[in-house]
Amino acid sequence: MTNFKIAEPQTIDQVTSLTIDKKDKYKLMAGGTDLLAEIKDEIIEPEVVVDLKSIPDLSYIKKEKNGVRIGALTSLARLAEDTLIKNEYPALHEAANSVASPQLRNMGTAGGNLCQRPRCWYYRDPQVKCRKKGGGRCFAFRGKNKYHAILGGGLCYIVHPSDLAPALIALDAEISINSPKGNTTIPLTNFYTLPKINVRKENILAPNEVLREIKIPLIKKEEKSTYSKFIERGTWDFAIVSAAVKGTVSGGIFRDITIVLGGVAPVPWRLTKAENIIKGKKITEDLVRKATREALKEAKPLEENGYKKELAEIVLYRAVLSLL
């Protein structure tokens, strides 16, 4: 681990101005559960760590007439315990509750979960300089790739590790970003980018921008949602495959449905093709499995991760059927 300085800004504006002249030499820290591990393992060596937790009032869950606003520094534990979230947005509740362990949920934050870095073991090996770290190749492509991407790979085969992201995208969440150029609000789905856009990053956030808030629209009548995460052991594991499903359902038919998979691609993966097949039809196990298979035809498994395709089918049909 190399030495670094800690900056404790009092406002978000201070963050954006603080970081303006120190490009690439500073890192923003929310809960720190991922960032500190990266520093300790010497994956990154920032000169300054900007502790966002010193900014007051970034931890909140507020219900308003247009929906719910969640402060970026709201802890995952708080998110998982919140009654409103649990009752109205079960997908988000289940996703927050499925993250890591109670200790990590106490430290980890909603914003940090969305911005965390991949857990690819090549990326996390300090001795390996892969494409994501500015090197010339993706070691997973012909290497050990049991946990890697079956979709959207190419230059880099990481899977996005966030549990909240698929759930929030399924719930049509937006995020507010503070930037020196002004503040913007965008759909969360537009936040994430594939390796072919920029192999070194997983999202559009510039170094001097801060993800400040998450907004989820009000739930519609008969809207239901769920997040189902398949892991190898009983708890404390990253998803092999996860599925977030949201839709309005009655009489065993989805009038509309949104499906987002986690653990299969470098970004949360929307399954539009499957949604279209399922929509308006009487739901059966068979229908959902066929729809998933159809949608995953474009998947390109590597040597060791083909089983993820099978698992996606199972995880997804079970998630969809659980909403009937």
Binding site: M1, Y122, G143, K144, F230, R233, W236, D237, F238, Y307
Partner: protein, 758 residues
């Protein structure tokens, strides 16, 4: 001919296991012990750990906790290459960094795995030491390497050591294997695979070294304080008498801390150079690279059986890899566990450019039992026989691998009976995989054989003070098994006192000699030695009490702090009163030391421990996920010494066994030459939610001659059968044997596909 050693330089640790248990013959005891007649009040019951409160409240000092005045922190530079020549090294720059007090070069020539130590520094704090490592300039010439078994076995693969990568190290024959196959009604052949596991004790490896003139004191997280002392003496070329090794408490070792470590030597060298104490604690990452592992295995078993279940032949071919170290002997279960007249074994080591193996809680037996017990399960199905009946049918009362020597005691039949009752064996699927639905249940069984004898020459003292206080002293170490507690229990039992009346002293090489705590030897070594010492102390006290009570010493009974005349129990004197009077009469004014020893056991018998585990699992046949619901672990270990800690051993063994069966696997990357998962994120161990309901049961028999208590060891036995029992339960649930551990969902799904093809 029993075994053939092919290696000139067999690894010390493997030898320790091999020779000490199978081939070691002890002295004949002058008087054969006959422990069956003894009846005890405390021994065999549950006594809570006397140090339990200290441990759970965080006050027990571990090596990680040692802080000495002026102490420096050492860090080790390790090779980033799986194979390379160290062309040059320059450590001169490190001294320019303020706070750095010592630096040493540790390697010249070739490094043969990524993580091998090449240099070390000591500085005033850990951070400075880490930064100093970056100032060491090493020029490597990297060379081709092979880090996986597949790669190492390829034609023309880079040679890992100065010998071929694949090398036979064991062969065994009894009877005639071809004859055995001819006599069989059915012959089956399958291949079973087990992954490399890392020990990963909760407390990572570490040492603190301090010189006072020519004398060296080392605090070490070790299973063998005397082994560390003697190893240091050899490495530093100083007399053993000048070295003291201390270990008070430790957070696990599981075989990875059985001897001298190179980082301990480095700490001593740095401490000498800096003239200050030096502490080196390895990181979790380092623990994944360079302090041992359980070798993998690829075992093909071919066996013959008659229609009635009689085994006629067992053939095992094993390829096992322990990195640059040797693989494990996995053949012991095939050779000894079941009655079979025709057995043939050949075992090969596969060398790879990875850290050397070390004994891992029941080395070889975990892998060998998984394969053999899986094979028997499939064989039983072939002849349509209850797998438990197949095991009973081939019950052996003699150790066939050890010249047909009869077992001194064997309670495996009783284990089968108790376990089958407890798990409800009748509930199993009569035909594997006969159930319906997406989640299926199954039951499985696996048996176990292990050694469990003591190490002759183990010494212990019981010291009586003129104020009546008592010490039990032995140079052993408590590696978490409750050694302190039973030393107190046995001494108290023998002297008619309570465990809390006894002060226990262990973990220091200045105490009487005791071997390393490995191979389930600690209890059957230390318990008889301390019992011997305590009996001598009791004899002295009986003699003194007899004088007071005007009786003969052998007429004196000791119970509950009182000495009484057997023939006239009204005639009695209390322990305290006796001591007080002796002191006043000037007969007992100085401390008295009674020296005990475990000298050995009669020859002509085989001494082994046995057990059977029964598992119940639930398998999701769509996702391939296995959930272990229940494990019943039944063990025969001679006399039970302390019920509660024995049960803890079984629970611990099963917990690790579940982890082995479902999760643990070190993954090597052929491109980088590195361990892909040197952390607890990617090297998955069972979490509390993965641990099933566990029922430990103990068949309390007394071995009639193994030692003066009739007790065998229990450290390793419960670690052996869980993976086999769980895999067999999975087979019973889904109708296909996975044949590979860990049984992760991808592998279970693959096995289910094999079933469709079959």
């Amino acid at each position: 001919m029993r075994k053939k050693e092919y290696f000139a330089d067999s690894e010390e640790a493997s030898l320790l296991y091999r020779e000490e248990f199978r081939d070691m013959k002890t002295e004949e005891p002058e008087v054969a012990p006959s422990p069956e007649k003894d009846k005890f009040e405390i021994i065999g019951k549950s006594t809570s750990r006397i140090d339990g409160e200290k441990i759970v409240t965080g006050r027990a000092p571990y090596t990680h906790d040692i802080k000495l005045r002026g102490m420096l922190y050492g860090k080790i530079l390790r090779s980033p290459h799986a194979c390379a020549e160290v062309i040059s090294m320059d450590i001169s720059q490190v001294q320019s960094l303020p706070g750095v007090k010592a630096a040493i070069q540790l390697k010249k020539g070739r490094v043969t795995y990524a993580g091998e130590q090449v240099a070390a520094v000591a500085a005033v704090d850990e951070k400075t030491a880490e930064q100093a490592l970056k100032l060491i300039k090493v020029e490597y010439k990297s060379l081709p390497f092979a880090v996986t078994e597949e790669k190492a076995m390829e034609e023309g693969a880079p040679q890992v050591r100065k010998r071929p990568n694949v090398q036979k190290f064991n062969e065994y024959t009894r009877g005639n294997i071809d004859k055995g196959f001819k006599e069989a009604d059915f012959v089956l052949e399958n291949t079973y695979k087990t992954a490399v596991e890392i020990h990963h004790p909760a407390e990572t490896h570490g040492s603190v070294a301090k010189w006072e003139g020519e004398r060296l004191t080392v605090w070490d997280s070790t299973q063998a304080i005397f082994g560390v002392r003697d190893g240091l003496a050899r490495a530093l070329k100083i007399p053993a008498s000048r070295i003291k090794v201390i270990k008070h408490y430790m957070g696990g070792g599981f075989g990875s801390k059985l001897g001298i470590n190179d980082y301990t030597v480095a700490a001593a060298m740095l401490a000498k150079q800096a003239n200050k104490p030096v502490k080196i604690i390895l990181s979790r990452r380092e623990n994944s690279l360079c302090v041992g592992n359980r070798p993998s295995s690829l075992q093909t078993i071919k066996g013959g059986v008659k229609k009635d279940g009689t085994l006629t032949a067992l053939y095992l071919k094993n390829y096992t890899s322990g990195g640059i170290g040797r693989g494990d002997y996995c053949s012991e279960p095939v050779v000894d566990l079941y009655k079979c007249p025709n057995v043939q074994v050949e075992e090969h080591s596969v060398f790879t450019n990875t850290g050397a193996s070390r004994p891992t809680r029941a080395p070889g037996h975990v892998q060998g039992t998984f394969a053999l017990e899986g094979f028997l399960e499939e064989l039983a199905n072939k002849i349509n026989l209850d797998p438990l009946e197949l095991r009973k049918k081939n019950y052996s009362t003699k150790n066939q691998g050890d010249k047909e020597t009869p077992y001194s005691s064997k309670g495996l039949n009783k284990c089968y009976q108790l376990g089958a009752e407890k798990i409800g064996w009748k509930r199993r699927n009569k035909r594997p995989g006969e159930g319906n639905g997406k989640v299926r249940r199954g039951l499985g069984v696996a048996s176990q054989i292990w050694w469990g004898v003591g190490r002759a020459g183990t010494q212990a003292d019981v010291k009586l003070h003129p104020d009546g206080s008592v010490e039990a002293i032995c140079g052993t170490q408590d590696i978490g098994c409750g050694t302190r507690t039973y030393m107190a229990t046995i001494t108290a039992e023998t002297l008619g006192l309570r465990p809390k009346d006894v002060t226990v002293k262990i973990g220091n090489t200045e105490y009487p000699w005791c071997g390393g705590s490995g191979g389930s030897t600690t209890t059957p070594s230390v318990a008889p030695a301390i019992r011997d010492a305590a009996l001598k102390a009791a004899d002295y006290l009986k003699k003194m009490a007899a004088e007071k009570l005007k009786a003969k010493p052998d007429e004196i009974n000791i119970t509950k702090g009182k000495f009484s005349n057997k023939n006239d129990p009204v005639q009695s004197i209390g322990y305290k009163k006796l001591i007080e009077e002796l002191r006043k009469e000037r007969k007992f004014r100085r401390e008295k030391v009674f020296h005990g020893e475990y000298v050995g056991r009669p020859s002509g018998f085989a001494y082994n421990t046995f057990g059977a585990h029964f598992a119940e699992v639930e398998v999701d046949v769509e996702t391939g996920k296995v959930k272990v619901l229940k494990v019943v672990g039944v063990h025969e270990i001679g006399r039970l010494i302390n019920k509660i800690t024995a049960e803890s051993q079984i629970i611990g063994g099963i917990t690790q066994g579940v982890s082995t069966a479902l999760f643990e696997e070190r993954i090597m990357d052929n491109t980088t030459g590195n361990v892909a998962n040197p952390n607890f994120r990617d090297y998955k161990i069972a979490t509390s939610l993965d641990i099933p309901e566990i029922t430990p049961l103990i068949v309390d028999t007394v071995d009639p001659r193994i030692n003066n208590l009739g007790a065998k060891g229990l450290g390793e036995p419960p670690r052996i059968p869980p993976a086999g029992a769980i895999a067999n339960a999975v087979y019973n649930a889904i109708g296909v044997h996975v044949r590979e551990i860990p049984m992760t969902p991808d592998k279970v799904l693959q096995a289910l596909k094999r079933k469709e093809v079959d």
